[in-house]
Symmetry: C2
Subunit: 368 residues, 2 copies
Amino acid sequence: MKSQVSEIKKKIKRLETLVDTSMIFSSILDIDELLNIVLQKAEEVMDAEASSVFRIDEKTNELYFVTARGEKGKEAKEIRVPMGKGIVGWVAQHGKPLFVPDVKKDRRWFKGVDEKTKFVTRSILAVPLIAKGKIIGVAEVLNKKGNRKFNKDDLELFKALANQIAVAIENASLYTELDRLFLSSIRAIVEAVDAKDPYTRGHSSRVVEYSLLIAEAIDSDKDKLKDIEVSAILHDVGKIGIPDKILRKPGRLTFEEYAYMKRHPELGASIIEPIEKLRPLQKNILYHHERFDGAGYPSGLRGEEIPLGARIICIADSFDAMTTDRPYRRKKSIHAALLEVKRNSSTQFDPTLVKIFIRQFERYRMKK
Amino acid sequence: MKSQVSEIKKKIKRLETLVDTSMIFSSILDIDELLNIVLQKAEEVMDAEASSVFRIDEKTNELYFVTARGEKGKEAKEIRVPMGKGIVGWVAQHGKPLFVPDVKKDRRWFKGVDEKTKFVTRSILAVPLIAKGKIIGVAEVLNKKGNRKFNKDDLELFKALANQIAVAIENASLYTELDRLFLSSIRAIVEAVDAKDPYTRGHSSRVVEYSLLIAEAIDSDKDKLKDIEVSAILHDVGKIGIPDKILRKPGRLTFEEYAYMKRHPELGASIIEPIEKLRPLQKNILYHHERFDGAGYPSGLRGEEIPLGARIICIADSFDAMTTDRPYRRKKSIHAALLEVKRNSSTQFDPTLVKIFIRQFERYRMKK
């Protein structure tokens, strides 16, 4: 009777873990942090020494570690396991869970990981991660403490956890993929517009790069950096509305032509006007030709009245213009262009951002 | 002792429900179907007569039904509950669960929904849906059967279920939002390119509309329709690479100019070449000027050698060209254009698709 009660208590504890984890899944944004906490819970309830989550890399048909907890977790992270190889490879291939009470006695056991990590695996419980009917990876717990074996209750719990994990991973990667699609698509179209004029080929992409150099030194918040990236890609999108004969004129523009050309920030802002999610970025596009001393266009804003994103893009945009040929002048050397940026600090550019840009650009050049 | 055992059994049953639902969350793609099944489980375990999930509409500060199960579910779906009003409004506002054993005795109770649906609510258990720390909606079960009251065990289970539901809803809506951002962004840029020439203003958007008219009659698969939509938006993206003086020439093109112009499908396909996810759509762009009789360009494909998407876009594109003015000719009436499409069935166009287009277009015109 007593052992029955203790069995039931254990069962309840296991199941309660699932209640706890469902809370974790709804509260944690970062997928790596989430997996780490969920696996920690799994180790606790199942008395395991270590645990990992693998994903399948469909291109190479290998498994790679998404999370590796335990003594040698760090070492494990660089290892890749071929599909079908070892315990996790078997589980990934067959889509079925696997108990391995003693790895030494299992022919499927692949020593490679232990050899590299110096971790000693004794027993394994591995379950497939299945999302929307597709095998996307494997989760495993290693070495049940006290020389015991993983049991059916462990399996049941781990399968349920694996479902939660699979959904979380799948959702995160669907989102990441779509986000990449969004960015790369607008980038491809804008690059095609740039490429129409040999003098501006690659311009918007370089402005993204330079803008991020500055922005990353100010703030590491991913959303803010994404905003800068999208604003920078789109900063010249208004040039779509400028006739070729002005845009590509092989010489100085007349006063009227220049006045037309100066409308491109407003045209750009109006192109993204219908897109609610991009509206917060309109200001970065609209004001990227304002000057710190108030002598820019379209509104003559000055200093910090000019949105930060616009001040950043202004430096990046001008620097790229200086360092590329134009129909009516040759490009400046990088050294001369950096001097020119410095010379225009406080008049055209935000002096704080100029300092950051120059410092960051030097570092970036060294890395290249 | 007996009652203790039955209590424990109940507890285990509740917890096992969570294991089951975690399976459902990892296997069902469609969010409406998913919520329906999860609520059904919740009703079963908690002996409830009905259940609902509400979301908060941030713009209007109202709650609306996402799912409403039970006798009067259908009637409920059109109702909106102001924030703070009624039991669900209170839960949404305070972010706390609420037991209401007898709605008639609770001052917060709002009769409006029952009056509209003719459902008789007696008792309610309502929990907030919280995703990443934000209240996004409310889930409720109604009328515990056998005149009993919802209890603490029900609450514990329902809170855990609510977490799973909140994560699923949040993920689905994040994805939908980003997808909308992707589509609307490329659409805005392409529309700006179209708008540069008054003769093509709105062209790509109309081609999307006409293409979807045809595609929806063939296949209701969302992904396939999305592919057609994106292909149609981008079908002329290659025109970005064609000089204005050819693109906007107010008269017939010379042989050389026309040869240049005919490169736009290839240019379009090459613009999206770097984007892996869009590569399957390249063929729709590349071949949208092929003809059913093999006399089109760039490759002279014929019949069903031409990808379905390209055959669809070809009709939509031509029809829109016929029904809009060009520098060198006036537009045709819709009646004349439809006749022209019919006349070119089997030579220029896929005859099966022509029939579908004409039928669908007539319906669409009637609705307008």
